[in-house]
Symmetry: none
Subunit: 224 residues, 2 copies
DNA sequence: GCCCGCCTTGATGGTTCCTTGACGGGCACC
DNA sequence: GGTGCCCGTCAAGGAACCATCAAGGCGGGC
């Protein structure tokens, strides 16, 4: 199921959107201002953001800039302003699409689907990544080792998923911290060690001599 | 310069678009019907397609489907139809964006920029530099020699990467020091010798008679 | 309200890597 | 042949980084 973050300061509209989106199979989280939107984007890992311009605390463009600083997560902007430069500005800042209020629900749904599809397309994304005795099913968020299911915590999964999507490639430490914990955690390298150790204990035959979750000191981690 | 393929059967509109786009720095090729649009997309390698629905020969949705069969090239649909399902249908078929006529030129330009940026951002920069038995994969940060992986430290990698990005060219000592250690280290030439030696020990068959990591005394280093 | 799972944080010990120094060789020039 | 310069090599100390264990705190589920 795809997850969408709805950012809107009008409770009525936010609730209406949430109900409609849930009815169409989306998992919905909401935020009422820019600050909590940025937090939620980092903490909830949505697949797409619906962003209403004109929030109480931050300008909508600041929210876009704040997100684009660390993620390419698709953003669909929602606005009542029919004319003017803000549409162009939002797109140039890195928004992915723009819908004018009032809008037809099925149009918004189509644009969300398009945004998510685009963002996922470039990852050729076999939904199951195999590494030795490990099978990582990205779509179902499941991992098995020698055929037996392995239970992971949300953070462990997020870490492993990132490595799996770049299987065979070295993923830099900063990228792991940014994408798993959020942009404010780029220097919390201790987390990496703790979670790498936890994953190894669950996934490796000999956790102290890992063969699949490999550390490159000072650089990052590789799944192979 | 970015190249755009404009598909429109009205010569007047097509010409107006082409002039405007060229004025904003785009390289423009045009097609007046669906069949030639598909050919042009294959032959001209545009960065983005602007597609007017309602062509004489093929339905616009068929053009989208025809393109999506083999490429993920971004498509911006142009249409006069204000309402109805075709907007949703076009997006779901794989169009990347949708602009309704009449439209503001700067909006179309912004959407084109956004579409191109999106399509290029995730391009994983598949560049592998080969020098004799060495293969240097810049994206994966991996080096192999005769097919076997070679482990490098962060500083060694940074040094080698710089040389690999300028393979065959002499990289001045000062540039190496600046880009690997930072601007304050421009005169620490000793570092160069130590790390050049370490790299040779890992990469060369006979480290004391290097064939790939070449020193030009007083000038700099070359990878070949 | 309690319990449990998970995240965070600290402490410790081991490893890797960077920096720095010392020494010898080749080369040009005097 | 001596001198100076630059390069290559080796080695050691210390800093940065990693692995592991464990405990406290927080929140969600019951």
């Amino acid at each position: 199921m795809n997850k969408v973050l709805v950012v809107d300061d009008e409770p009525a509209l936010a609730r209406a959107l949430a109900i409609n989106l849930r009815a169409h199979g989306w998992e919905v989280v909401t935020a009422a201002d820019g600050r909590s939107a940025l937090e939620a984007a980092a903490g909830e890992h949505p697949d797409v953001v619906v962003l209403d311009l004109g929030l109480p605390d931050l300008d909508g463009t600041e929210v876009i800039a704040g997100l684009r600083g660390w993620t390419s997560l698709p953003i669909v902007v929602l606005s009542a302003r029919q004319h003017g430069e803000d549409k162009v500005e939002a797109l140039d800042l890195g928004a992915d699409d723009y819908v004018i209020k009032p809008f037809a629900m099925n149009e918004l749904l189509a644009r969300l689907r398009a945004a998510v599809r685009r963002s996922q397309a470039p990852a050729p994304e076999e939904s199951v990544v195999v590494a030795g005795p490990l099978e990582i099913d990205l779509a179902r968020k499941r991992v098995s080792r020698d055929g037996a299911d392995v239970r992971l915590t949300p953070t462990e999964w997020s870490f492993l998923e990132l490595l799996a999507r770049n299987v065979g490639r070295l993923v830099p430490r900063e990228q792991v911290l940014r994408e798993v914990w959020g942009p404010a955690y780029e220097h919390e390298t201790h987390y990496l060690r703790v979670y790498a150790a936890q994953l190894r204990r669950k996934l490796e035959d000999d956790p102290s001599h890992p063969r699949h979750l490999i550390t490159s000191p000072g650089l990052g981690y590789t799944l192979q």
